[in-house]
Symmetry: C2
Subunit: 289 residues, 2 copies
Amino acid sequence: MIEDLAEATICIIGLGLMGGSLAAALRQRHCCREVIGVARRAITLDNARAQHYIDLGYSNLAEGVRGADIVILATPVCDIIAKIGQLSALVKPGCLVMDLGSTKQDVCAALDQLPLQVEVLGGHPMCGKESSGLEEADVDLYHDKVFILCPLARTSEQALSLGRQLATAVGARPLVLQSERHDTLVAAISHLPYLLAVALVNSAEELAHRDALVWQLAASGFQGASRLAASDVTMMLDILLTNRAPILASLESAQNQLTALRSALQAQDMQTLSELLGAARTRRKELNP
Amino acid sequence: MIEDLAEATICIIGLGLMGGSLAAALRQRHCCREVIGVARRAITLDNARAQHYIDLGYSNLAEGVRGADIVILATPVCDIIAKIGQLSALVKPGCLVMDLGSTKQDVCAALDQLPLQVEVLGGHPMCGKESSGLEEADVDLYHDKVFILCPLARTSEQALSLGRQLATAVGARPLVLQSERHDTLVAAISHLPYLLAVALVNSAEELAHRDALVWQLAASGFQGASRLAASDVTMMLDILLTNRAPILASLESAQNQLTALRSALQAQDMQTLSELLGAARTRRKELNP
């Protein structure tokens, strides 16, 4: 396999927000020899070329990955898993297959099925947004973001090094994690906030059936708290399906927290309420704004 | 009572984010004759004077409200209610007593106890932030925000007109609502998002006890969803206490939504999940970003 990112031909499959932004950053920063894009729709490829995000574009997977030193899957998780199955017959020996999916155990299990002459590495850059699509792509999306790398038992040192080079090249901070640990952490930090936002919006909508004024009063506080509910549904369904157990555990934890708040309020137990609110405030103020 | 805001001496009690910003806007826009500030601490009054937010400052309530045509209470809700009780002996006949509190039924009930020669009107500008204090005051805080006015049965047309003038003068959009309806709406749109943010942070903290990496991974999605958890605890405790029944109903509604999501995920019922997520996405995308 190739050792230096600068010499690599990189094929990115899926030119949405994540794939498009990665392509844009790789090309603008001259990180590699060539960026090839694979997308279903011709218009996406045309736009990616017009924006100089890619050198070459293909709608055919086999053509796109044929000469690639690194293949990066950047579609929704279930599609990543499906495409991994097709890659074994298509990529050249020594090719590194990576992905940008938001859940890692199922993806890494699929990667593990690839022939041993293919290198594999799971990846998850923590820079998602609730918006999606190539038109939302941003050359600085990865800047200063954590880029999680999940090596498999079979992942070589060189493959991991190439993954680190890739993350660093686009301005991100590589962080190596086991896939199981990754999935538990992101359930609490990404997938739970999404589901809370969905519950918040659907709960307000329930009230809106009785009083349509609800939506006129939704100010910046509501908007910030509910923003994630606008996320792409296909992407989120794949995430929920492939990270079910950790997400169910996170949901249970959040419901227990809500029950604690509700019981204390019901009982007018201001001491307990004060402790629960105070702990959250202290912790939240330690994070960035 | 006075009819024209431009002739009014306005006394604002409490120079935090809301009171300080209101004072600043009134003075900078030359909306009234004089702005008097009342604050507990001398340093707050000094700062408000130095910033030209107020003409005069008093730490003594009686001195501050003595000559006022309009008194505006801008402290946490329970303090507003306590101070209303003190005002009856202090304000001049025909004075309009208003407030900026986030809950309205209990405040309006307290206002209703004032002598009949005092005019009363509940108010709630929907422009809170999770930050607080005079140092966060912003002359444009009220710009283009909804300023809810809750008239009591005894509130005169002139008093309501003066409230509308005040809201409009600082750039806000007055909206007249009954206090009960107000409290139900803000429970769903302001207080529930706050409690969900608290539950989210405390739930992540629970996981952080087992894996400290949680907080390193909290990216922009988590930060947006949890921002409200940084709100001032005293202010929020007062809100919870004075809007208990609507908030408990909102919490129950949100928990039902979470249970629906959890059951569908548990059963891998992707059809139901897709409908729940899709409904939230469609609705959220109709709001402002």
